[in-house]
Amino acid sequence: MTVTESKPRYKYVGTRPVRHDGLEKVTGRARFAADLNLSGQLHGIVVRSPHAHARIVSIDTSKAEAMDGVKAVITGDDFPAVDPSNRNYDMCVNIMARHKVFYEGHAVAAVAASTRDQARAAAAAIEVAYEVLPAAMTIDEALAPGAPVLHDHMMTKGADPPATEPSNVSDITRFAAGDLDAGFAEADLVIEREYTTKPVHQGYIEPHACVADTGQDGHTTIWCSSQGHFNVRSSSAAMLGWENTRIRVIPAEIGGGFGGKTTIYLEPLAVALSAKAGRPVKMVMTRDEVFRATGPAPGTKLKVKLGARRDGTLVAGDAYLIYSGGAYAGSGGLLGAMTVFESYNIANFGVESLNVVVNTARSAAYRAPAAPLTAFAIETMLDEIATELGIDALDLRLANAVAEGDPSTMGFPFARIGFTECLEAVRDHPHYSAPLGPNQGRGLAAGYWFNIGESSSATVNLNEDGTATVVTGSPDIGGSRASMALMAAEELGIDPLDIRPVVGDTEAVGFTDVTEGSRATFATGMAVVEACRTMVAELRGRAAKMMGTDIDDIDWVDGQAVYTGSDGDKAPLSVAAICAKAKRTGGPLTATGSLEAHGAGPGFAVHLCDVEVDPETGVVRVVRYTASQDAGTAIHPSYVEGQIQGGVAQGVGWALNEEYIYDSDGVMENPGFLDYRVPVASDLPMIDAVIVEVPNPAHPYGVRGVGETGIVPPIPAVANAINDATGCRLRNLPMSPVRVLEAITANGGSDG
């Protein structure tokens, strides 16, 4: 179902062709990083800390180095020293510990051997002596008086008065508007609530993997699975102390990322091992390593106070947000502060947010980082306010929703946005008024995400037969190649299936930022459009030559050069006809587009969730789900729906099941999909994705990013539905059967 504002009619944009990379993926031929093998390849294994916090006293690699098949062993000493003032410091010392380990699973050494078994045996023979330190595993432990301080250099940024001693608080962000006291004084209803959430993992099905081949000339080629191969290049170069030109990164297919593959873990280790051994080195993480050592999303503690007038107008909001970034400074606090009150007009607000370090794996981005948790707080509190004031929950949101011209938390007025349209789409959906069964409840929640622009490059090459190749630098996680082909088809006027969209390596296409922030179809799409428009100008010029006329007399209409001059009739020339004569009219037809994309359009989503709660077990089943989202313009609607549906599934898992569990020594207890339970097909119903299209004025086709916003509303939508079904307010994640049952039976309607 699509709800559309009036927009230009497109021939290809908005259609649903089979994706170009689909055939390889359904036949098992697509090459993911772990599928590559090179001649003479060694296997690399990482040695990881068994302790959550410890000083490295010594590392003895001599036994390992003497073992059969072992060709190289590396430790932190094999990389240039790095200083905390270096902006890559956290990344470098996270990839390979120096002097101290900060979480269980932190890499301390790596070994390359002829076989994986040999490498594993050698890794086990590396002797690391640790001085175990007390660990701070949670926000409370990290902030407690006398807590072990992880980083001696961590002086809280934004502290007032300025910090004079190191602490586990990396930074504090504050936003404010209006007069908070006056705002609350104006309120007829004030509620204050506290929430806690646990770290959760992105849970991509493909573990991190790479192959690095370093030659005697000191140049290396890396094949890897990442959300951004240019970032793999620069990050690896930074860690190795190399120039970018010594590293070529060839993107393999990527088996999911969701933000978790915007940073790197293995690649510089594989390069260093390969350089030392003089052989290609392949490294593939186990699932256990993925859980222990790669980016979970932060855990949080949130305290929010909201004030509303009797008529439902929100007049004051106060938020105190703490995000744990794992072992190094995270960005959750800032992003949480920027999202917590962003969806609603609240004249008086104050936000203070902290990023705190703890002895768990360094957190990484996860789809709309930080926003699902602030939405958990705000959207469940809005439900409480609606109930208390006797106002319909959707009407309450409509009355307070931000629209074009309203100020954002950061002060600027919103451009055209589609929040109201998303609310209306859900209100008008049959789901909204469908009857509920016994033990069932319905929850509504909204969500917001910024979306970003950044740098992108594209090259369009027309082939001799009139087909086209579109090369971009954006790894395709969820179907973006199909979107690139559709936009190019619309511009050039040729069938999208006559266009081959490919992801070029770091030496085949211009610099392109990471596929993150829902930017690929937005920003890289703009680069594709720019390249195509340059190409069309070139095609008009070539056609003018062929027709013996001036370029100004040639229009480009539906894939053809059409003569508009007054010198009689001239037959139109197709792309194929112009391509066939390219050698005689000026040579190969190639055009590039590269830009820094301005004007990323914010995305809003509104979800409606029905759950059924088993009163005897506390098990919550999602039985119906409808998700509206403003896509701006859906270039390939199937993959827009897919992004929304995938975000919902991840959000439902976050709401109900997923959490990192540590034992008393700070060792993760559930590093596998058996005990870290992500939703399976039988846990979910169909997810009705309602695409709302309020075009982004800054994009040639009106695209907003769609990748992230869909994960923001599910947690509060599920929580509100559980409340509707049981009368219980759950404010701690996950809302597991145990917690739900406790709330139903013991706690008088809440989970504590």
């Binding site: 934004g158 800032l334 789809r367 800054a698």
Partner: protein
Amino acid sequence: MAVRVHLSSNLRGPAGGLAEIEAQGATVGALIEDLDRRHPGLGDALRSGVSVVIDGLLIAHPEYEPLADGALVYFVPQTAGG
């Protein structure tokens, strides 16, 4: 160029808490230099990790962005994504 500057609330510390400032600059970079002269330390706060919004358009790396006379420039924290 006379320009109106709006600072998001987290950036107002070096500006003595001011939300709006009148300043001069033909580009955002020149504007930041002028702001730093008026409010020492504000330049450092605005040079990295900060985007601008001009005429509704979010610009992440605005140093050389030209400014029209009377423009309204919003300085806001840079966002990221997953």
